[in-house]
């Protein structure tokens, strides 16, 4: 191998530099987010928590397509409870604190869903309420 003396230290420096974010944070991923459980005390969701954790975005997309594109506006019944297929009307009824529930993980994972560009969070909806 030619130029062993420069190539090997060069590679070592490169690897160190690329992994700098890991070293910089002391090999810790920071505090793991703990999204707030529904403040109204509801324990049941439309699916088990583990499934919701993994696939809530898929479910939301399915609901959206079903409601908007296939006029499937009928509600879903889980465990004897009716849930309208809607972020604003179903999810946020229990998970009423978007900042402490949605944002907690999304900020940690640096995910920026565009739901709230149009959909109103409970706080926003209450900010401009009927005055009379």
């Amino acid at each position: 191998m030619y130029n062993k003396r420069t190539v090997i230290p060069g590679l070592a420096i490169f690897v160190l530099f690329v992994t700098l974010p890991l070293w910089y944070n002391g090999l810790s991923a920071g505090p793991i987010p703990k999204p707030e459980l529904p403040p109204n005390g509801t324990k049941e969701c439309v699916a088990p928590a583990s499934e919701m954790r993994d696939n809530h975005m898929v479910l939301l997309n399915e609901w959206r397509d079903s409601v908007l594109r296939e006029s499937g506006r009928s509600s879903v019944s889980v465990g004897g409870k009716e849930y309208p297929k809607a972020l604003q009307l179903a999810c946020m009824e229990c998970h009423s604190n978007k900042e402490k529930f949605c944002d907690d993980c999304h900020t940690y994972a640096s995910v920026k869903p565009y739901c709230w560009d149009c959909h109103l969070t409970p706080v926003e909806a209450a900010s401009k309420k009927e005055t009379h």
């Binding site: 908007l68 909806a125 401009k128």
Partner: protein, 278 residues
């Protein structure tokens, strides 16, 4: 040597000729097979053409097609009723208000006769026609040009009820639909609409900056068993009738059967689902 070249040229010529004539030969030999299948096809075609004249070129109605009828006779001289219907719609759908008309968002609005019915003569029109505004909204056409031009299928015709709906998740704000719509029923959000909404309806989303929006025939209210917001607001006048125009027993079909109605720019062939008694 010479002999071989001569042979090669002959073969090349014959091959070229065969290649050129091959399509013709295939066509000639294949035509009897086509001819034998033709009578069946003709038979089917004649059956179709029998069905057509009965309906005088009109397609046989199939499925639900929601329509709306506005009886302007009940609204003449009462612009406040129209404003009430418009305000109800604006409130239910979180529609922003802009003072500058350049930016305005309209789902249902008022416009003079000559703007609403551009293909109708206004020569010697009546006093009522001249002095009154007309209530207009998306026509939820059976042949919607906006749907044809949308590159992302963000706007589409719902086959289950005939509503020309929008999926704001898909809209990229190209505004082709605004060019396509001959009724001006679509508005573009030049700004974040939230800054100009006075009070929110917490049950409905807003839109975001950069999407086109329009009337949705209150699809979300119909699902709850409610009537369109504009109709509900002025229900006592009976000026607006809503229902399935393909169902001969619906209220709207009965009014359509009894009264002479007009549609906006029906000559364009968009087949509007909004009817007017003027």
């Amino acid at each position: 040597m010479d002999n071989q070249r001569r042979k090669f040229l002959k073969m090349a010529g014959a091959t070229a000729l065969a290649g050129i004539s091959a399509p013709a030969v295939v066509k000639l030999t294949a035509s009897p097979a086509l001819a034998s299948s033709a009578p069946a096809g003709h038979g089917a075609a004649t059956q179709d053409s029998h069905a057509q004249p009965a309906a005088h070129g009109e397609e046989a109605p199939k499925g639900v097609r929601l329509g709306l009828l506005i009886d302007m006779r009940k609204l003449y001289g009462k612009p406040e009723l129209m404003d009430k219907a418009i305000a109800a719609c604006n409130k239910v759908h979180n529609i922003p208000h802009y003072d500058d008309r350049k930016n305005e968002i309209k789902w249902i609005w008022k416009t003079p006769f000559e703007n609403a019915f551009v293909d109708q003569s206004v020569y010697h029109s009546s006093k009522e026609t001249k002095e009154n505004d007309f209530l207009v909204l998306c026509n939820h056409c059976d042949e919607p040009p906006c749907v044809r031009v949308c590159p992302t299928k963000a706007t589409f015709r719902d086959e289950k009820n005939g509503i020309v709906a929008m999926d704001y998740h898909r809209c990229i704000g190209c505004r082709f639909c605004m060019m396509g719509c001959p009724y001006g029923a679509r508005s573009f959000n030049w700004f974040d609409p939230r800054d100009n909404i006075k009070e929110y309806n917490p049950k409905f989303p807003t839109r975001m900056r950069g999407v086109v929006e329009k009337c949705n025939f209150c699809g979300e209210r119909l699902a709850e068993g409610l009537e369109p917001a504009c109709l509900e607001a002025i229900k006592e006048t009976g000026a607006i009738v809503f229902g399935d125009i393909n169902d001969p027993n619906s209220e709207i079909s009965q009014v359509l059967a009894k009264e002479h109605t007009i549609q906006r720019n029906s000559s364009l062939g968009t087949k509007p689902s909004v009817f007017y008694i003027v």
